[in-house]
């Protein structure tokens, strides 16, 4: 996706606040949300900032729950608005019923998950343990979200624009899957240009039945199985078309003998692992999926032909690694390194793992 033309100086911003500012600049019509750590700064920023922006008509409403928030998103999206919500893991779980309805009714919107460690009430520390929930559906029924995984505050801001572009192109809900560290940390960011995301026409929206058209109905109820199957086939065709939107980043994969695969914050840590490894003469490359749905199966399969082994690194018990294995189909050994519950592997931990695997496989990397 092309980058917006940037005219501003970089700012030092917290991830959650950069996300919220990007949402204002993307001219969202409405934000509905409920506070939860570690992402409450999103609604706080919007509540503070929007009244001072006289050119903006953004609705910002603190709902009574995440359940209400996502259903307000449904209503507003169905009315043709550009609308978003954000939350963190337990709140996103509460939203799953509504997200399933939104996917079925084919409403474009943005849901941001600033993931914290679980299961249950868990911890407020960062985690990537909602990968399955985000990429495999999450709620009931056969559906997918478009899932973007930022690995910097810059991407947290940029992906608001990218997510709405994709959501509106495919009439599908999009998710930004971040984590508590990205939401809370401060980094340099050059914000996307204000008013640079054009509105799209939504002739299906419930804006009031005019004389020149039939009534518009937003629903996810298709009670006849023949019709429900047809709707499902249409959805599957849409998901097939979305595969062309797959995005990833590669670092040092040309000569790599070891391939690290990691997304989001884990990919940032893996960049350091790569540098440390290369300083020791270990040719490490990194593939970072940017879209988690669609997933870069094809490219991982190609790289699997060239490397001695793949190490998948996540902040969970091993979720994306299942997709990596599906992509690799036995072409190379695939290993997993992860920590759970809000803990984060250090670069040294990961490099030690690379060296231990190399020794086990009896492959020399010096």
């Amino acid at each position: 996706m092309e980058k917006e033309i940037r005219t501003e100086e970089p700012r030092l911003m917290k991830g959650n606040e950069a996300l919220a500012e990007a949402a204002i600049r993307a001219n969202i019509d409405a934000y509905f949300g409920y506070p939860i750590t570690p992402q409450s700064e999103v609604i706080e920023y919007l509540m503070f900032e929007v009244p001072n922006r006289k050119d903006k008509k953004t609705v910002v409403l603190q709902a009574e729950s995440e359940v209400a928030s996502i259903n307000m998103v449904y209503g507003a999206a169905g009315a043709g608005a550009r609308v978003m919500t954000s939350s963190s893991s337990p709140g996103i779980s509460l939203m799953q019923e509504g997200i399933s309805y939104i996917a079925s009714a084919q409403l474009p919107c943005l849901v941001v998950n600033v993931v914290r460690g679980g299961p249950g009430l868990g911890t407020i520390q960062p985690s990537q343990s909602d990968y399955f929930q985000a990429t495999k559906g999450g709620g009931h029924g056969d559906y997918h979200l478009i899932v973007l995984a930022p690995s910097s505050v810059q991407e947290l801001a940029d992906f608001v624009f990218d997510a709405f572009k994709l959501a509106e192109k495919y009439r599908n809900p999009a998710m930004i899957l971040a984590d508590g560290a990205l939401g809370q940390m401060m980094e340099k960011v050059v914000l996307p240009k204000d008013n640079s995301l054009p509105k799209v026409s939504k002739p299906w929206a419930t804006t009031g039945k005019t004389k020149d058209r039939e009534r518009n109905i937003i629903t996810s109820l298709f009670i006849q199985p023949e019709v429900m199957e047809k709707v499902n086939l249409e959805l599957q065709e849409k998901y097939a078309a979305m595969q062309s939107e797959v995005r990833w980043e590669e670092l040092n994969t040309d000569d790599a003998e070891v391939l690290l695969v990691a997304f989001g914050l884990s990919a940032r840590i893996c960049q350091k692992v790569m540098d440390l490894g290369r300083a020791k003469g270990i040719k490490i490359g990194l593939l970072r999926p940017i879209t988690l749905y669609p997933f870069p199966y094809k490219r991982i399969a190609e790289l699997a032909e060239k490397v001695d082994f793949i190490l998948d690194v996540e902040m969970n018990a091993g979720q994306m690694v299942e997709d990596v294995r599906l992509a690799v189909e036995g072409r190379a050994p695939v290993y997993f390194k992860g920590r759970m519950g809000g803990m984060i592997s250090t670069p040294d931990d990961i490099l030690n793992e690379v060296e231990a695997i190399s020794e086990k496989l009896n492959v020399l990397h010096q």
Partner: protein
Amino acid sequence: MEEKLILEDGIEVEQVYRRPETLTDVPYHYCPGCSHSVVHNVLMEVVADLGIQEQTIGVAPVGCSVFAYHYMNVDMQEAAHGRASAVATGIKRVMPDKLVFSYQGDGDLAAIGTAETIHTANRGENILVVFINNGIYGMTGGQMAPTSLPGMVTSTSPYGRDVSMVGYPLKITELVAQLPATYYVTRQSAHNPNAVRKLKKAITKSFEYQQQKKGTCFIEVVSNCPSGWKMTPVETIKYLEEVMFPYYPLGDLKVPKN
């Protein structure tokens, strides 16, 4: 409305009533004698009478009236169970000049959707909530509702509602009337022509208040369920008058102070 028509056998008659353009030409699926079709008719007649078809967006619930959008010829959204007022909030907030109503049953509004109902009314969302209370879950086959009366036999209270175990019928309309941001709260019925006329008046006022941006209007319609109550339609009318209305007394609970 009044037009002269010549019937096939040459008799000249005057048309005094016709299906308003706000209702589709689709037969109702509701059970014979059920209030839903009457309330649908009245609601859509008001939309036609006020000339607000182009401005009106409705929200259908989960329950017997899940297919309300098959009949109501206005733009509509179908909400998840209990969430109709949240969906209506989302619509209204992004289109404050349109007219938005939700149409919900007792299970939807007063059990699974209690939080949304109370908080929508507490924010004073400028919408109309039409609440059909027949004290039973009709669509799923006659289970106990939050508004089922003490001792009422349903498929999940087969020996009668035992209030010591499951609590008392929830008078949610009284709760809603307590909230400072609600503007007009009333309890009506649709069981005889006079009641239907009063209901129509209440709906008309509610849309007018919404046009004046006055806040939440809430109309409970104490209704029947011949299939769920296992009664003939005529028997349900008697039950309404003798059993339901004493517990849910008809009339205004909150009227605008002028």
